[in-house]
């Protein structure tokens, strides 16, 4: 324990408060801007307190969408649904695939086991951007452009999650697997009854990371989808800003940004309770 001294405590608090201000102020400005008329925030001084247009702006954005050539009247709820579906499929798919892959690598002695592991591990160094052209070609040839499958499947394989699960499985005592074997639990039963419940903290952590990862995808959906029906939030915001011959409707853009932030924040808050529960409950 560090000794408590009033000066040190004060200093710590000042630093923390400054940090919070630096992080929170832009978000506040964003929120304030989303509640005004467009002309109000284009004139100095920029308002620092919420305006009158909160309900009107958000209603228009959510249910009507912006009328401009690129964003083309796709309502925000549609984009958010798309993003949500994409993020969920990516997060759950990644967890499922990597859990099974790590289970195979750790608990089964098959030929070239380590080779397989190292190949998976090496793909850590190849993010989507590096392999984007060949991946696009494959997806296009399979006829998966403009579909949820095309949006998500190429992003599901995850070396990071496989690696994390592998490391976790290695910390599970071998005796547990042996006790289960003697208790008559086959591999699948062992995975379902013992490994899965033991992994729940890791599952929660990975879900948070992977959901955010999926939600924030930009480049891949941009390439994959031309149909407005599949517009995601991140792409939508880009299109709202990218308008010709006129000013972007900043209050709407700001409102979209605020809305785009909410689901990842909600996921973090929800999962945080799981985290802590898991952390408190772990053995020893």
């Amino acid at each position: 324990m560090v000794e408590r001294r009033s000066l040190a405590t004060l200093l710590a608090h000042v630093v923390l408060i400054l940090g919070i201000v630096v992080v929170a102020f832009p978000i506040w400005v964003t929120f304030v801007a989303s509640t005004h008329h467009a002309k109000d925030i284009m004139t100095a001084p920029i308002p620092l307190w919420p305006g009158t247009q909160f309900f009107e702006n958000y209603r228009r954005l959510l249910f009507e969408g912006l009328i401009n050539p690129t964003a083309g009247g796709v309502p925000m709820w549609r984009m958010m649904t798309n993003s949500f579906i994409m993020a969920m499929i990516i997060a759950l798919g990644k967890i499922f695939v990597s859990f099974i892959a790590a289970f195979a690598i750790v608990y089964f002695r098959f030929p070239f086991r380590m080779v397989v592991f190292w190949i998976i591990f090496m793909t850590l160094m190849l993010p989507v951007e590096v392999r984007i052209v060949p991946t696009f070609k494959v997806v296009a040839d399979l006829g998966m452009l403009n579909s949820y499958a095309g949006l998500t499947i190429p992003l599901i394989a995850s070396a990071t999650a496989t690696f994390l699960f592998r490391q976790f499985f290695l910390t599970v005592p071998d005796e547990l697997a042996e006790a289960a074997r003697i208790d008559g639990a086959g591999p699948v039963k062992f995975m379902k009854d013992i490994l899965l419940p033991l992994s729940r903290t890791n599952l929660a952590a990975l879900f948070v990371i992977m959901f955010t990862f999926g939600w924030n995808q930009y480049l891949w959906p941009l390439l994959m989808t031309t149909d407005r029906q599949y517009l995601t939030v991140v792409m939508g915001i880009q299109r709202m800003i990218n308008v010709a011959d006129t000013d972007p409707q900043w209050p709407m853009v700001m409102a979209a940004v605020i809305l785009a932030m909410l689901p990842p924040v909600a996921v973090v808050l929800l999962m945080q309770r799981w985290f802590i529960k898991g952390l408190v409950e772990t053995e020893k």
């Binding site: 006790a179 074997r181 033991l198």
Partner: protein
């Protein structure tokens, strides 16, 4: 319940290490057999082969009258208690004990009955709803035993189950295991490196070293009639003294630089003039009254105080020797101590093979 019969069982690991070198052993139905040996002697490997957790490289393993070499652990009808308990951390005590039975599709009332009964036997009834982490080491060990008991197996296998407990608890659990065995009369194989555990628990002690059996016998046999130098020094604390000597006549052996000792010539078969190793337990020697000694003596170097007794370390000739004397004995004199050893407490071993020269 069933007997466990091993015939020439071998284990060779990938990479060529031979952990178990052809062991034949008969564990009779209902007996408590302890596999005892230093770490790396293959005792755990042998147990794990009986459990089916390691494949058997050669030989056969029979449980009852069924050869189980290729049988899955769950179908061997055995139960195992692990050193670190291996309880499922996310399940309640009840579920831990019931898990194996559920997997075997035992009817629910039957599971309930068996778990309650085992819990009562082990005095863990009050903890059935708790998770393992909320239990102390001794309680966890009981749960692990309960998990074994509810299966009503052909044989119990214990893999150093007491090593993770503190000294006091270990003694207590040892007694409980013995009591449980007397009650259940279940064939049990218990692996340990602790000779006290082995001596107190076993009907039969199997002393192992370097993947081979050194001696099989009752606890008193391995203590009183060790078959090899290894068993002689491994069993007993402090360890048996081994000093080089030469047989100079019927029942007489000379310890160079120290004197002569009498041994029982009816028990040992050894020709005059042979170089041998003489084994004497520290607790079998006494400081000689005048006229009692044949000149066997030691030069003391230092004393270890143990409370009830003290250990005198010194030299007999050039060989190190440890003598155990009661604490009440204060005056050890200075200079050499003349020692008396009853002739039937002297062991004679072959210098080259390390085997006892005992007859029959």
């Amino acid at each position: 319940m069933a007997s466990v019969i091993l015939e020439n069982v071998r284990k060779v690991y990938a990479g060529g290490v031979e952990a178990v070198k052809g062991i034949s052993l008969d564990v009779p139905n209902g007996s408590f057999t302890v596999l005892l040996g230093p770490s790396g002697c293959g005792k755990s490997t042998l147990l794990r082969m009986i459990a089916g957790l390691e494949t058997i490289t050669g030989g056969t393993c029979k449980i009852g009258d069924r050869v189980v070499n290729e049988v899955e652990p769950a179908e061997r009808d055995i139960a195992m208690v692990f050193q670190n308990y291996a309880l499922y951390p996310h399940m309640s005590v009840y579920d831990n004990m019931a898990y194996g039975l559920r997997n075997r599709r035992t009817p629910k009332p039957e599971i309930e009955r068996r778990v309650r009964e085992a819990a009562r036997m082990l005095a863990i009834e009050d903890f059935l709803d708790r998770r393992p982490r909320a239990l102390s080491g001794g309680q966890r060990q009981r749960v692990a035993m309960g998990r074994a008991i509810v299966r009503e197996p052909q044989a119990f296998l214990f893999d150093e189950p007491l090593s993770n407990l503190d000294a006091k608890l270990r003694v207590q659990m040892r007694i409980e295991i013995r009591r449980l065995h007397n009650r259940l009369k279940a064939t049990s194989i218990f692996v340990t490196h602790d000779q006290v555990e082995a001596m107190t628990l076993a009907d039969v002690v199997v002393v192992m070293n370097h993947g081979r059996i050194e001696q099989v016998g009752k606890p008193t046999d391995v203590y009183n009639r060790p078959a090899t130098r290894f068993v002689a020094t491994f069993i007993g604390s402090p360890a048996m003294n081994l000093v080089p000597g030469r047989v100079i006549g019927r029942g007489k052996v000379e310890i160079p630089g120290s004197g002569t000792l009498d041994f029982d010539p009816d028990q040992f078969e050894v020709a005059d003039g042979t170089s041998v190793e003489v084994g004497i337990r520290p607790e079998d020697m006494t400081v000689a009254a005048s006229g009692e000694s044949n000149g066997f003596a030691m030069k003391p170097e230092f004393v270890e105080e143990l409370g009830p007794n003290r250990l005198v370390h010194g030299l007999a000739g050039s060989a190190p020797l440890v003598l155990s004397v009661p604490s009440s004995m204060h005056d050890l004199g200075n200079g050499t101590i003349a020692l008396h050893v009853p002739e039937h407490r002297v062991h004679v071993f072959d210098t080259t093979t390390g085997r006892t020269l005992r007859r029959g």
